[in-house]
Symmetry: C2
Subunit: 215 residues, 2 copies
């Protein structure tokens, strides 16, 4: 397991040696949402070659960023999950995601949106100050995509699947609308979504999940 290095005793250089290679940080992003099995990762990262995925998983495990687990009884199989050290990458993922969002004007042809990308984008733009003392529960629905956002006393929990309790507001997208967080905001502002529940929470939503403005 020889890796190319940058020859510098520097935190950034170390980080890039460990998670700077192609696909690595996207794997970490998906694992930050929840543990995945190998085939879940393949599904959530369309286009990744299987040999690259298995190589990255070994490298990330070797560097202590992720770990292999044996899934519990009903499913059985291998689960990949972030270690505590891997979770320490989340601030960097959020910062990079916010910067990249400045370059997201229009989706390019063929680009897809996955649950994991939406969740991590939303976690990254969550404005804790604007949400101080807030409690609310949203559910986002689109074709092949259901996720929930629960804010409890200003603290965010965002995950795949329907809300654990009855959501305050359900936001439903039509098939032709990309439910990325940017498009979501724009669509919501233009009234292109279907709302069910406490409609006044849409404004709260748009305020708490603030879009980085493109330059």
């Amino acid at each position: 397991m020889k890796r190319r290095d940058y020859g510098q005793y520097c935190g950034l250089a170390r980080a890039l040696e460990l998670i700077g290679e192609r696909w690595a940080l996207l794997i970490v992003r998906n694992l930050a949402v929840r543990p995945h099995r190998y085939t879940d990762l393949l599904d959530g990262l369309p286009g990744i070659p299987t040999n690259v995925l298995s190589t990255r998983l070994k490298e990330l495990e070797h560097s202590g960023t992720i770990e292999r687990r044996i899934a519990p009884a009903p499913q059985r199989g291998v689960l990949y999950a972030l270690t505590p050290l891997g979770h320490e990458l989340e601030p960097a993922i959020f910062a990079l995601g916010r910067w990249g969002a400045l370059h997201m004007d229009e989706p390019r042809p063929g680009e897809i949106v996955t649950s994991e990308s939406v969740i991590m984008n939303l976690r990254g733009v969550f404005d804790a100050e604007a949400a101080a003392a807030l409690s609310a529960c949203w559910e986002i629905r689109a074709p092949d995509l259901v996720l929930h956002l629960v804010v409890t006393d200003g603290k965010l929990e965002a995950g795949v699947g329907p809300a654990p309790a009855e959501p305050d507001l359900v936001i439903t997208f039509q098939p032709d609308e990309l439910p990325s967080y940017r498009e979501l905001m724009q669509a919501a502002k233009c009234g292109l979504v279907e709302l069910s529940g406490r409609r006044e929470l849409l404004d709260t939503f748009l305020r708490v999940f603030a879009i980085p403005q493109p330059v």
Copy 2:
């Protein structure tokens, strides 16, 4: 100028397409300290092939992250500098640098330390809360390395070269001590440095530039 993409409409994926290729973020790191000429970048990034450097500079200019400038009168020549959009990458660089620092136990044989890496590491670990209302000026000296840290009312300015005004404390390293920020802290704690000035500011220094603890 075709680039490989990840096929996802996602902020992180966008960011990785733009600055995820080899050497790109290290170039941005160096330009974040001050504008550089082409040969300065070559010196500050030992090992980078010249064709890779020129390719990255073109890509980064194309994405609006950096810009070419004609240097003013005395020097004349080309200067590369970050655009405002490029400066928006600094939080991500700091976050990655702090994470990478968790993996920096010992310097590896042959690894070097540059002014730019030390400055950006220090900027990244600067604790604004701990430095609130503080004003102080340090100068760090080592072989082939002089840099200054000026905190004015809790706000940090860190750059290459000697301090603009008389420093409150000068910290001088011996040739055998790597003046990376981590080694610097350890050496300073062990008294392996030469101090000149208000010695009590060493404790302040260690408090305001907090080391990320390795896991």
